[in-house]
Symmetry: none
Subunit: 154 residues, 2 copies
Protein backbone atom coordinates (compact mmCIF):
# COMPACT_ATOMS: atom_id res chain seq x y z
CA UNK A 1 0.00 0.00 0.00
CA UNK A 2 1.14 3.52 -0.73
CA UNK A 3 2.37 5.64 2.15
CA UNK A 4 2.10 9.31 3.01
CA UNK A 5 5.70 10.46 3.32
CA UNK A 6 7.38 13.80 4.00
CA UNK A 7 6.00 17.09 5.29
CA UNK A 8 4.64 20.08 3.41
CA UNK A 9 3.73 23.57 4.51
CA UNK A 10 0.71 25.07 2.82
CA UNK A 11 -1.10 28.37 3.00
CA UNK A 12 -4.65 28.68 4.19
CA UNK A 13 -6.57 31.44 2.41
CA UNK A 14 -9.20 33.72 3.88
CA UNK A 15 -11.92 31.20 3.17
CA UNK A 16 -10.05 28.38 4.87
CA UNK A 17 -9.01 26.70 1.65
CA UNK A 18 -5.74 24.77 1.41
CA UNK A 19 -4.38 22.88 -1.51
CA UNK A 20 -3.46 19.32 -0.65
CA UNK A 21 0.19 18.48 -1.41
CA UNK A 22 0.25 16.84 -4.85
CA UNK A 23 1.96 13.65 -3.65
CA UNK A 24 -0.77 13.12 -1.07
CA UNK A 25 -3.44 14.05 -3.56
CA UNK A 26 -2.07 11.50 -6.00
CA UNK A 27 -2.16 8.72 -3.44
CA UNK A 28 -5.75 9.50 -2.52
CA UNK A 29 -6.76 9.73 -6.14
CA UNK A 30 -5.22 6.40 -7.05
CA UNK A 31 -7.06 4.83 -4.13
CA UNK A 32 -10.30 6.32 -5.42
CA UNK A 33 -10.81 8.64 -2.45
CA UNK A 34 -12.62 11.87 -3.15
CA UNK A 35 -12.84 12.81 0.46
CA UNK A 36 -10.35 12.99 3.26
CA UNK A 37 -11.41 11.46 6.51
CA UNK A 38 -10.15 13.49 9.43
CA UNK A 39 -10.17 13.00 13.17
CA UNK A 40 -8.93 15.14 16.03
CA UNK A 41 -5.77 13.51 17.39
CA UNK A 42 -5.77 12.31 20.96
CA UNK A 43 -2.23 12.96 22.09
CA UNK A 44 -1.39 16.13 20.23
CA UNK A 45 -3.14 19.30 19.03
CA UNK A 46 -3.27 18.00 15.51
CA UNK A 47 -5.63 16.25 13.15
CA UNK A 48 -5.16 12.76 11.79
CA UNK A 49 -6.33 12.39 8.22
CA UNK A 50 -6.36 9.93 5.38
CA UNK A 51 -8.44 7.99 2.91
CA UNK A 52 -10.81 5.06 3.11
CA UNK A 53 -7.97 2.75 4.08
CA UNK A 54 -7.38 4.71 7.26
CA UNK A 55 -11.05 4.82 8.08
CA UNK A 56 -11.34 1.08 7.64
CA UNK A 57 -8.39 0.46 9.92
CA UNK A 58 -9.83 2.68 12.63
CA UNK A 59 -13.26 1.16 12.38
CA UNK A 60 -11.99 -2.36 12.72
CA UNK A 61 -10.15 -1.34 15.83
CA UNK A 62 -13.25 0.21 17.30
CA UNK A 63 -15.31 -2.87 16.57
CA UNK A 64 -13.28 -4.82 19.06
CA UNK A 65 -14.86 -2.89 21.90
CA UNK A 66 -18.02 -4.08 23.65
CA UNK A 67 -20.83 -1.91 22.21
CA UNK A 68 -22.55 -1.58 25.57
CA UNK A 69 -19.57 -0.45 27.58
CA UNK A 70 -18.63 3.00 28.76
CA UNK A 71 -15.51 2.57 26.76
CA UNK A 72 -17.46 2.26 23.58
CA UNK A 73 -19.41 5.43 24.30
CA UNK A 74 -16.19 7.33 24.63
CA UNK A 75 -14.81 5.92 21.43
CA UNK A 76 -18.01 6.51 19.52
CA UNK A 77 -18.05 10.11 20.68
CA UNK A 78 -14.46 10.65 19.71
CA UNK A 79 -14.74 8.69 16.54
CA UNK A 80 -17.94 10.16 15.17
CA UNK A 81 -18.31 13.56 16.77
CA UNK A 82 -14.65 14.44 16.40
CA UNK A 83 -14.39 13.55 12.75
CA UNK A 84 -15.08 15.13 9.43
CA UNK A 85 -15.09 14.33 5.77
CA UNK A 86 -13.17 16.98 3.91
CA UNK A 87 -14.16 17.08 0.28
CA UNK A 88 -11.39 17.64 -2.23
CA UNK A 89 -12.58 20.24 -4.72
CA UNK A 90 -11.86 20.52 -8.40
CA UNK A 91 -8.63 22.39 -7.74
CA UNK A 92 -7.30 19.85 -5.26
CA UNK A 93 -8.16 21.91 -2.22
CA UNK A 94 -9.88 21.18 1.06
CA UNK A 95 -11.40 23.53 3.60
CA UNK A 96 -10.27 23.38 7.20
CA UNK A 97 -13.24 23.59 9.51
CA UNK A 98 -13.56 25.82 12.53
CA UNK A 99 -13.33 22.79 14.79
CA UNK A 100 -9.97 21.90 13.27
CA UNK A 101 -8.69 25.45 13.61
CA UNK A 102 -9.68 25.66 17.21
CA UNK A 103 -8.25 22.33 18.15
CA UNK A 104 -4.96 22.74 16.32
CA UNK A 105 -4.40 26.47 16.31
CA UNK A 106 -4.03 26.40 12.54
CA UNK A 107 -4.46 29.85 11.13
CA UNK A 108 -2.50 31.04 8.12
CA UNK A 109 -0.44 28.03 7.36
CA UNK A 110 -0.75 24.33 7.90
CA UNK A 111 1.71 21.45 7.86
CA UNK A 112 0.77 18.21 6.15
CA UNK A 113 2.94 15.62 7.89
CA UNK A 114 3.11 12.16 6.37
CA UNK A 115 2.50 9.28 8.72
CA UNK A 116 2.33 6.23 6.50
CA UNK A 117 -1.29 5.18 6.22
CA UNK A 118 -2.32 8.61 7.48
CA UNK A 119 -1.04 12.14 7.58
CA UNK A 120 -1.44 14.82 10.22
CA UNK A 121 -2.37 18.48 10.03
CA UNK A 122 -0.46 20.82 12.31
CA UNK A 123 0.05 24.43 13.10
CA UNK A 124 3.66 24.88 11.86
CA UNK A 125 5.23 26.12 15.10
CA UNK A 126 3.64 23.37 17.12
CA UNK A 127 4.76 20.80 14.63
CA UNK A 128 8.36 21.92 14.94
CA UNK A 129 8.21 21.66 18.70
CA UNK A 130 6.65 18.28 18.46
CA UNK A 131 9.30 16.96 16.08
CA UNK A 132 12.06 18.26 18.29
CA UNK A 133 10.56 16.36 21.19
CA UNK A 134 10.17 13.24 19.09
CA UNK A 135 13.80 13.24 18.11
CA UNK A 136 14.91 13.81 21.66
CA UNK A 137 12.86 10.94 22.97
CA UNK A 138 14.14 8.58 20.34
CA UNK A 139 17.74 9.58 20.86
CA UNK A 140 17.42 9.13 24.58
CA UNK A 141 16.01 5.67 24.29
CA UNK A 142 18.73 4.58 21.98
CA UNK A 143 21.48 5.87 24.17
CA UNK A 144 21.10 3.22 26.82
CA UNK A 145 20.35 -0.10 25.23
CA UNK A 146 21.97 0.24 21.84
CA UNK A 147 24.25 3.16 21.39
CA UNK A 148 27.08 1.94 23.57
CA UNK A 149 27.85 -1.05 21.48
CA UNK A 150 26.11 -0.21 18.26
CA UNK A 151 26.64 1.69 15.07
CA UNK A 152 27.53 5.30 15.60
CA UNK A 153 26.01 6.81 12.57
CA UNK A 154 23.02 4.94 11.34
Amino acid sequence: MERFVSSYVKKVDSKGRVSVPPPFRAILQRAGDEQIYSQLALETPSVMAGGAALLKMLESRMNEIDPFSQDYDDWAAHFYSGSDYLKIDGDGRIVVTDAIREYTGIDGEVVFAGRGISFHLWQPARFEDYMTGVRKRIAKKRELPKREEGALNE
Copy 2:
Protein backbone atom coordinates in the same frame (compact mmCIF):
# COMPACT_ATOMS: atom_id res chain seq x y z
CA MET B 1 -25.51 2.02 6.53
CA GLU B 2 -24.82 5.71 6.53
CA ARG B 3 -23.42 7.25 9.66
CA PHE B 4 -23.87 10.56 11.39
CA VAL B 5 -20.39 12.08 11.50
CA SER B 6 -18.95 15.38 12.70
CA SER B 7 -20.43 18.09 14.88
CA TYR B 8 -22.32 21.22 13.96
CA VAL B 9 -23.38 24.26 15.96
CA LYS B 10 -26.76 25.70 15.08
CA LYS B 11 -28.81 28.62 16.26
CA VAL B 12 -32.17 28.25 17.93
CA ASP B 13 -34.60 31.06 17.08
CA SER B 14 -37.18 32.62 19.36
CA LYS B 15 -39.73 29.98 18.41
CA GLY B 16 -37.37 27.14 19.17
CA ARG B 17 -36.68 26.33 15.55
CA VAL B 18 -33.31 24.92 14.49
CA SER B 19 -32.22 23.91 11.06
CA VAL B 20 -30.84 20.39 10.95
CA PRO B 21 -27.29 20.21 9.56
CA PRO B 22 -27.57 19.41 5.85
CA PRO B 23 -25.43 16.27 6.02
CA PHE B 24 -27.67 14.82 8.72
CA ARG B 25 -30.76 15.93 6.89
CA ALA B 26 -29.52 14.18 3.76
CA ILE B 27 -28.96 10.91 5.60
CA LEU B 28 -32.43 10.99 7.11
CA GLN B 29 -34.00 11.86 3.80
CA ARG B 30 -32.28 9.04 1.96
CA ALA B 31 -33.50 6.66 4.64
CA GLY B 32 -37.01 7.97 4.14
CA ASP B 33 -37.32 9.47 7.61
CA GLU B 34 -39.53 12.53 7.91
CA GLN B 35 -39.30 12.63 11.64
CA ILE B 36 -36.48 12.51 14.10
CA TYR B 37 -36.88 10.18 17.00
CA SER B 38 -35.41 11.67 20.15
CA GLN B 39 -34.82 10.36 23.64
CA LEU B 40 -33.30 11.94 26.71
CA ALA B 41 -29.83 10.49 27.15
CA LEU B 42 -29.13 8.50 30.27
CA GLU B 43 -25.50 9.24 30.96
CA THR B 44 -25.25 12.84 29.92
CA PRO B 45 -27.41 16.00 29.83
CA SER B 46 -28.05 15.56 26.14
CA VAL B 47 -30.61 14.10 23.78
CA MET B 48 -30.05 11.09 21.59
CA ALA B 49 -31.73 11.36 18.22
CA GLY B 50 -31.94 9.61 14.90
CA GLY B 51 -34.13 7.98 12.31
CA ALA B 52 -36.10 4.79 12.12
CA ALA B 53 -32.91 2.73 12.18
CA LEU B 54 -32.08 4.03 15.62
CA LEU B 55 -35.57 3.43 16.92
CA LYS B 56 -35.50 -0.12 15.67
CA MET B 57 -32.18 -0.78 17.32
CA LEU B 58 -33.37 0.57 20.64
CA GLU B 59 -36.60 -1.37 20.53
CA SER B 60 -34.86 -4.63 19.84
CA ARG B 61 -32.63 -3.99 22.79
CA MET B 62 -35.59 -3.32 25.02
CA ASN B 63 -37.35 -6.45 23.87
CA GLU B 64 -34.73 -8.56 25.48
CA ILE B 65 -36.01 -7.55 28.90
CA ASP B 66 -38.66 -9.60 30.67
CA PRO B 67 -41.93 -7.63 30.19
CA PHE B 68 -43.10 -8.34 33.73
CA SER B 69 -39.99 -7.16 35.48
CA GLN B 70 -39.41 -3.93 37.31
CA ASP B 71 -36.62 -3.36 34.88
CA TYR B 72 -39.00 -3.34 31.99
CA ASP B 73 -41.29 -0.83 33.65
CA ASP B 74 -38.40 1.52 34.11
CA TRP B 75 -37.23 1.13 30.57
CA ALA B 76 -40.69 1.51 29.13
CA ALA B 77 -41.20 4.68 31.11
CA HIS B 78 -37.91 6.11 30.00
CA PHE B 79 -38.32 4.90 26.50
CA TYR B 80 -41.81 6.11 25.82
CA SER B 81 -42.36 8.98 28.21
CA GLY B 82 -38.94 10.48 27.66
CA SER B 83 -39.10 10.44 23.90
CA ASP B 84 -40.41 12.63 21.15
CA TYR B 85 -40.85 12.71 17.42
CA LEU B 86 -39.49 15.90 16.00
CA LYS B 87 -40.99 16.67 12.64
CA ILE B 88 -38.70 18.08 10.00
CA ASP B 89 -40.46 20.99 8.31
CA GLY B 90 -40.29 22.15 4.73
CA ASP B 91 -37.20 24.22 5.42
CA GLY B 92 -35.31 21.41 7.10
CA ARG B 93 -35.94 22.64 10.61
CA ILE B 94 -37.10 21.02 13.82
CA VAL B 95 -38.43 22.54 17.01
CA VAL B 96 -36.75 21.74 20.29
CA THR B 97 -39.29 21.07 22.98
CA ASP B 98 -39.34 22.55 26.46
CA ALA B 99 -38.50 19.13 27.89
CA ILE B 100 -35.36 19.02 25.77
CA ARG B 101 -34.35 22.52 26.78
CA GLU B 102 -34.78 21.80 30.43
CA TYR B 103 -32.93 18.53 30.35
CA THR B 104 -30.01 19.76 28.27
CA GLY B 105 -29.78 23.44 29.08
CA ILE B 106 -30.02 24.25 25.38
CA ASP B 107 -30.94 27.85 24.89
CA GLY B 108 -29.63 29.93 22.02
CA GLU B 109 -27.44 27.42 20.31
CA VAL B 110 -27.34 23.70 20.01
CA VAL B 111 -24.69 21.22 18.96
CA PHE B 112 -25.58 18.32 16.69
CA ALA B 113 -22.94 15.72 17.47
CA GLY B 114 -22.68 12.71 15.17
CA ARG B 115 -22.63 9.31 16.84
CA GLY B 116 -22.88 6.83 14.01
CA ILE B 117 -26.39 5.44 13.97
CA SER B 118 -27.52 8.38 16.11
CA PHE B 119 -26.60 11.94 16.86
CA HIS B 120 -26.83 13.90 20.09
CA LEU B 121 -28.10 17.35 20.89
CA TRP B 122 -26.05 19.34 23.39
CA GLN B 123 -25.71 22.72 24.92
CA PRO B 124 -22.41 23.86 23.34
CA ALA B 125 -20.42 24.53 26.50
CA ARG B 126 -21.41 21.23 28.02
CA PHE B 127 -20.50 19.42 24.86
CA GLU B 128 -17.01 20.87 24.85
CA ASP B 129 -16.48 19.79 28.44
CA TYR B 130 -17.75 16.36 27.66
CA MET B 131 -15.48 15.89 24.65
CA THR B 132 -12.47 17.03 26.59
CA GLY B 133 -13.27 14.40 29.17
CA VAL B 134 -13.77 11.75 26.52
CA ARG B 135 -10.39 12.40 24.99
CA LYS B 136 -8.70 12.35 28.36
CA ARG B 137 -10.24 9.04 29.30
CA ILE B 138 -9.29 7.42 26.02
CA ALA B 139 -5.75 8.71 26.11
CA LYS B 140 -5.32 7.52 29.66
CA LYS B 141 -6.48 4.02 28.88
CA ARG B 142 -4.13 3.75 25.98
CA GLU B 143 -1.13 4.66 28.04
CA LEU B 144 -1.10 1.44 29.95
CA PRO B 145 -1.63 -1.58 27.75
CA LYS B 146 -0.28 -0.71 24.35
CA ARG B 147 1.86 2.34 24.22
CA GLU B 148 5.16 0.83 25.16
CA GLU B 149 5.34 -1.52 22.27
CA GLY B 150 2.81 -0.12 19.88
CA ALA B 151 2.26 2.58 17.34
CA LEU B 152 3.04 6.03 18.60
CA ASN B 153 0.19 8.08 17.37
CA GLU B 154 -2.32 6.22 15.35
